[in-house]
Amino acid sequence: MTDRTDGRPHLAVIGAGPAGLTAALAAAARGVRVTLVDSAAQAGGQFYRQTAPGLGARRPQALHHQWRTWERLRDGLAGHVAAGRVTSLTDHHVWFVERQSGTTGGAPASFTVHALLGPEQEEPVTVHADAVLLATGGYEKVLPFPGWTLPGVVTAGGAQAMLKGGLVLPGRTAVVAGTGPLLLPVAVGLASAGAKVAALVESADPRAFVRHARVLAAHPAKLAEGAWYAAELARYRVRTRVRHTVVAAHGTGRLEAVTVAALDGDGRVRPGTERRIPCDTLAVGHGMLPHTDLAEALGCRLDGVDVAVDDEQRTDVPGVWAAGETTGIGGAALAGAEGGIAGVSIAARLNSRIPDRSSYASAAKARAGMREFFAAVDTVCVPPARWAEHVTDDTVVCRCEEVTASAVREAVDELGAGDVRTVKLLTRAGMGWCQGRMCGPAVAGLARCPETPSRRPFARPVPLGVLAREPGEPHDTSPSTTGWDPS
């Protein structure tokens, strides 16, 4: 049932990162009642992941960028929560969003957001809403290489998350490797927190940016940011090796060293350039992927791997908006611009009005510019073209089900699998706990198949007892109340 007891429309925002927060504030300021649902203990998302309060960080901004934006979002949220306009549900892991079509006479749809209360994620909670904004963010893509399952090898974003959230380092000597803009803050963050960063290994060739000189020139702030990182890397004496890649990680029981090598113009390792770097941490990432499970289950159209949205950040499913990384990887500032536009659009559309474009013209301009910038980054920051050739047969590709590269190759070359789904059915790659989130790009690359969305019915594991409950059993949380009521 749609709950409009106070006459105000109700929006559920899934994800309290820059996109979701900006949207929640924009919508709440325009009279929409908002429930903000997020899996973490505190709002902020991955970009503004907060240090646990018990650690008493007095200068948390030392681990962050664009802190003033965070202060504005944080204070704005607190103000709306205090005024009763926004309900912020933390530790709520959303696994499904259900859409009930309007009944008769063209009544609008309504939504039920199904979540599990964390961290055990066994107690169900539901939130009812008139509209949904999906601001589910992204996660890191990592391509396999021999030794990548050794403890001490972590994703670049994971190293940063553990540092921001728990103030810990995985070891003393780190190598940061892969490709993409995330590697810079990770390397600088680890170094500033006391790790020795033995090398920053980037497979891209920065000279390729020359082809995008016009786009770069239009983004002086991004160039200044790049220069700042370069200065920080120099300050911490981090050796940067571009057009290089990690070909293997070594160790018994845990990481002890990595081998890096130079790449030629075709993305092949240049023979004789291999060098071994002792380290106890490898923070590695090859770009980001959007979380699209909730959107797919709602039937939203995807554009490649991204949720497709229009100029107002609407998906093609009425009542469902999307903003931030889930609509295409582009960082926190772009996510904020998209969230702001979505919030304005939602507030208008829920009151059967057409949004005033002039009210978000500057955000739309910023959005266009940043999308153009990250499109350029995407063409430059690509994994080595021949990465699959360096994945030895005995390398585990699917970490959950321990499926090796040879099993994937056999499925394709000998058993005739022509798509990732068939490879999965033949090998179990992608059938484990993570549901193929980690191995998806690797399996597609090794099988020489296009990467396709995985179509997961639920966005996270759900206890059978929760699925078995009858609809309407007393576990609903009214949107006007906070928290979980176990009555």
């Binding site: 403890p151 994971g158 706990w433």
Partner: protein
């Protein structure tokens, strides 16, 4: 350059530490840290062995997506160490395989 730690960097004025056990060994935890953060602080990077080949695993994605950091906490297996906050007196054990006696 003076050696620094993440705690120095943010000028952490943390609350009192407490202890948990990992495979019977006592380790110190700072308030608010997840089990993964607590284990990392103690120099422990693996706390699971895989079902198939028994290989050691620990944190990989760090944000709850990959399920590589599964661990047994107070007898409950398959807990994601990167998400679950450590509590005083927790009994944390290496998870072998599925964690169930099979």
């Amino acid at each position: 350059m003076t050696p620094r730690t993440p705690l120095d960097l943010v000028d952490a004025r943390r609350g009192p530490a407490f202890t948990v056990t990992f495979d019977g060994r006592e380790i110190t935890v700072l308030p608010g840290q997840t089990i993964a953060a607590a284990l990392w602080s103690a120099g422990i990077t693996s706390w699971r062995t895989t079902r198939g080949s028994g290989e050691p695993r620990g944190v990989f994605c760090g944000i709850g997506v990959c399920f590589d950091c599964l661990v047994s906490v107070n007898g409950r297996v398959n807990q994601r160490a990167c998400l679950v906050p450590a509590e005083a007196g927790d009994v944390i054990r290496t998870q072998k395989g599925t964690g169930h006696h099979d």
